[in-house]
């Protein structure tokens, strides 16, 4: 098949970007979307042109490197899917595909389709952990955890930190990301001890980093490649509210 591409090109963080048009022939529908971009780049390099910079690594929807906004959706068409799992069979012959980077104040564009997601790392450093040093751990079966809680914690912990939730949100809110971590750890007995502190610190950091507020549109849930639900945002709100009333910090 033959496709047309409309891709965001931006030389660096300070440069002004714009869309560039490309045409690519001989696209096989068995190709993954990333393999299609690779073949575009191979072609551009051979023609002496600048390739398109974009991030990808594991190709198994687990590393969270992919950050492509395709035809107006983070990770493109399809639900519960990351860019690397998308194949060209999802597109039609002759179709024009528009590819942009994540757009959010907290995720500045570094080049073309690459954004800086360091803000997520900063959020994690603000409280996305249980304070336990190596060597201090009690026996893993000393704290029994109900299967239901463990499974629910796992559902939250499945977040790959790609940032699609922020990109999808009209307010560029990081509530789904933060709520997933806060919920995972608050659901487990070992995480309850610093649950209040964690909720307060991560929410404060989220505001400081310029992420917007949540207005419950559910766009994050709709675009999350791991299907993380906004019920975790409800849990975060509850954790945060309780903590604000009771934690004297």
């Amino acid at each position: 098949m033959k496709i047309k591409l409309n891709i965001w090109k931006q030389a660096n963080a300070k440069a002004k970007g714009k869309f560039e048009k490309y045409e690519l022939d001989g696209v096989d529908e068995e190709m993954s979307f990333l393999e299609m971009l690779d073949s575009l780049n191979e072609k551009l390099i051979k023609e002496g042109k600048e390739p398109v910079a974009y991030e990808h690594d594991c190709h198994e929807a687990i590393c969270g490197s992919c950050s492509l906004y395709i035809n107006g959706r983070p990770h493109g068409p399809g639900d519960v899917i990351a860019t690397c799992q998308m194949h060209m069979r999802s597109f039609k012959d002759g179709e024009t595909i528009t590819v942009e980077p994540w757009r959010a104040k907290s995720f500045p564009v570094l080049k073309d389709l690459i954004v800086d997601r360091d803000a997520f790392d900063k959020l994690m450093a603000a409280g996305g952990f249980i304070s336990i040093d190596a060597g201090q751990a009690p026996d893993a079966n000393a704290n029994l955890v109900s299967k239901i809680d463990a499974d629910k914690a796992f559902d939250a912990a499945a977040c790959i930190g790609c940032g699609a939730c922020v990109a999808a949100c009209k307010n560029s809110s990081a509530m789904l990301f933060v709520s997933a971590k806060v919920s995972q750890l608050a659901l487990l007995p070992q995480g309850k001890i610093e649950a209040k502190r964690r909720a307060l610190n991560m929410v404060a950091k989220m505001d400081e980093l310029g992420f917007g507020s949540c207005t419950n549109t559910g766009a994050c849930e709709a675009e999350c490649p791991k299907g993380i639900g906004i019920d975790f945002i409800a849990k975060l709100n509850r954790e945060y509210l309780c903590a604000s009333f009771t934690e004297a910090e």
Binding site: L44, K46, E55, A61, I62, C63, S146, G161
Partner: protein, 639 residues
């Protein structure tokens, strides 16, 4: 030059580590804050090592090429992590885990290191659970287990099919905590370009800032490499596309010995190659073999759909050949058995290079819901890639390059032959012999990171407390930076016609065809010549667009491919030298009548440690003799 001394402590096997720990030198807490440590890589070995060293009070600088430490490829490990906790009351013990690994590695690993890995395995589960890793639980609230290949007990802990992600995120969160506390300084988007040696000791690294292109110098009292494996030497592998062997090669060129480079695991259950554009192969966890049965049609020309082929026309070849272990034979055995069937014309799918992995019995007995709970994400992943549901029709799988048992040679302290340069996790060679058992890579990486490196690095640093942090203006740093810069300029100045990826693909083909699942003298010799030719072509016809002072992904690729080309020669040299078959290293000249790997213990019971002798010169072989005092060395049988 460095002498090959494994520094294995004296005493009975089960007491070595405990006694050694008690006699190690310590660094007092007020001295730790005067000492700097560099950790390169943030996977399941690097992140915990960095966090644990920072918790002790050292100043730690951590480097990764990804945009975030959480993306290291350990994140993609699927099935589980082993620990000898005997939670199932099925006779497990530290010794049994040790024995399974020694046997699984086909008697080519060092007893003392393997025993220690088994010994600390239980603590890892405690540590990870305390960090909030949501391991699967039974309804009663206790930890759940499953079984992996090559063993007869149930000792694998798991979090659905995403155990690596959860285990890595545990280490990552510990690392982020230390970043927040100011004890770890994080440098993401950095590519390591060289290790800096001053007065014979590792004292720092040179990196390239992948955003600005700036070349940076970083000094420390010790350097820990946790840079993973080099399975992407085959181009198509289960690894992330950016995984590489460059840090190991930089250390090798600076004098660190490389151990058993040709021991590369080919994983039996991966989604087969579908087309020529493919950039990577996707792993389907070994845990699937708990419930999946592997088969091909009994007749070569059976073109029926798998569900239309009746039971009597199916050949469950693993169950047939290995009744004791069945579908759960170790990976090397399963891979070769699948290759044998396909080579003889029994393969399925468009290419004939695939076998079935069938869940119909398990789905029938246990129901879709239970199977979904165990493998849901894997089934979804398979369906997204192939368009077929494994609940309804058997998966098609084929072996692919996966894990490197080989790596930098280290002693019992996990120190390379360069003092102050440590290698942990998959980056070292030490614990898996010639074949790794499933669910033991997370175990070894985490063990090295949480519970071994913090002790052994401290032991080294105890003699460095009065050493001042070397100046990055010292001639050694200047020289290392200059040669790194010169190399980058050289890539850009070639201005040829072929891309870095096209060279990588061709190298991968050579390696897969001649140094993959089966090897022979003629093919290996041919490969050496082909690699040398490819190298010449690479350095005369490479095309890299752009410049160094910007994000330049092609430049990053080129430097990785350049290292892969040299590493490929090293792998082939090692494979040529070892004329026996053992584990994943299968020399056609050395097999039993039944087609199984045939070791030659009187000649090859050693670790091959290779020493760099200069560009394009054949490396020098050093042998570390393997002594087995606690196990009987015998023919590895899974029948």
């Amino acid at each position: 030059m460095s002498k090959l001394d494994a520094k294995i402590p004296e005493g009975p096997l089960a007491e070595k580590w405990t006694k050694y720990k008690a006699s190690m030198k310590l660094v007092s807490p007020n001295n730790r804050k005067k000492l700097d440590i560099i950790v390169v890589g943030t996977g399941i070995a690097g992140a915990p090592a960095a966090a644990s060293l920072a918790e002790m009070g050292y100043n730690v600088k951590v480097f990764c090429f990804q945009d975030s430490a959480r993306r290291a490829h350990s994140v993609a490990a699927q099935g589980g992590i082993n620990a000898s906790r005997n939670n199932k009351n099925d006779g497990d013990s530290v010794y049994r885990l040790f024995y399974d690994m020694i046997k699984g590695g086909d008697f080519r690993a060092r007893e003392a290191n393997v025993y220690r890995a088994a010994e600390v395995s239980s603590n890892i589960i405690d540590q990870l659970t305390a960090q909030g890793v949501p391991f699967a639980r039974e309804y009663g609230g206790t930890l759940a287990n499953r079984t992996f290949g090559g063993v007869q007990v149930s000792r694998t802990f798991y979090a659905q099919g995403q155990t690596g992600q959860q285990v890595l995120l545990g280490g990552y969160s510990a690392l982020k905590r230390q970043v927040g506390l100011g004890k770890v300084k994080m440098f993401s988007r950095r590519q390591m370009l060289d290790v800096v040696i001053i007065d014979g000791k590792a004292r720092g690294i040179i990196t390239r800032n992948l955003v600005s292109g700036e070349i940076e110098r970083h000094a420390a009292h010790a350097v820990v490499l946790a840079t993973g494996g080099y399975g992407t030497i085959y181009y198509l592998s289960t690894l992330a596309v950016q995984s590489n062997g460059s840090a190991a090669m930089q250390a090798f060129r600076k004098g660190a010995f490389f151990g058993n480079p040709s021991f590369i695991q080919i994983h039996p259950t991966c989604i087969p190659v579908l087309n020529e554009y493919q950039s990577k192969l996707t792993l389907m966890s070994e845990s699937l073999r708990n419930d999946g049965r592997i088969w091909v049609p009994k007749s070569k020309d059976d073109k029926r759909k798998p569900n239309d082929i009746p039971e009597e026309d199916r050949d469950y070849f693993l169950e047939r050949r290995y009744p004791a272990f069945g579908n759960l034979v170790p990976r090397d055995v399963a891979s070769r058995a699948a290759k044998e069937r396909c080579d003889n014309g029994f393969g399925v799918g468009k290419t004939g290079l695939a076998v079935y992995l069938d869940f119909s019995v398990a789905v029938g007995k246990q129901g879709e819901k239970v199977i979904n709970g165990k493998y849901g994400n894997l089934f979804d992943m398979y369906e997204k890639i192939t368009g077929e549901s494994p609940y309804k029709t058997p998966m098609m799988i084929y072996p692919a390059g996966h894990y490197t048992m080989g790596g930098l040679w280290v002693d019992y302290n996990l120190q390379t032959t360069i003092p102050g340069l440590f290698a942990i996790g998959e980056a070292n060679f030490s614990d898996h012999g010639a074949n790794r058992l499933g669910a033991s890579s997370l175990m070894q990486g985490a063990g090295d990171g949480y519970f071994i490196a913090p002790y052994t690095v401290s032991n080294y640093l105890a003699d460095e407390i009065s050493t001042k942090l070397p100046s990055t203006d010292s001639p050694e740093f200047v020289e290392a930076e200059n040669s790194a810069k010169a190399l980058l300029d050289k890539f850009l100045s070639i201005n040829g016609t072929q891309t870095a990826t096209s060279f990588h693909k061709r190298l991968g083909n050579i390696m897969w065809n001649f140094a993959g699942m089966q090897r022979n003298e003629e093919g290996l010799k041919k490969a050496l010549g082909m690699i040398a030719d490819l190298k010449k072509e690479f350095w005369s016809d490479l095309k890299i667009p752009g410049k160094t002072e910007e994000i330049n992904q092609e430049l990053e690729k080129a430097s990785r491919v350049a290292d892969f080309i040299d590493l490929a020669s090293l792998i082939v040299t090692d494979a040529l030298n070892r004329k026996e078959s053992c584990g994943a290293h299968f020399r056609e000249e050395s097999m039993t009548e039944g087609g199984e790997a045939l070791r030659i213990d009187d000649q090859y019971s050693f670790v091959a440690a290779w020493e760099y002798q200069g560009e394009d010169k054949e490396p020098k072989l050093h042998k570390e003799e393997l002594k087995f005092e606690n196990v009987e060395v015998k023919v590895r049988s899974y029948k």
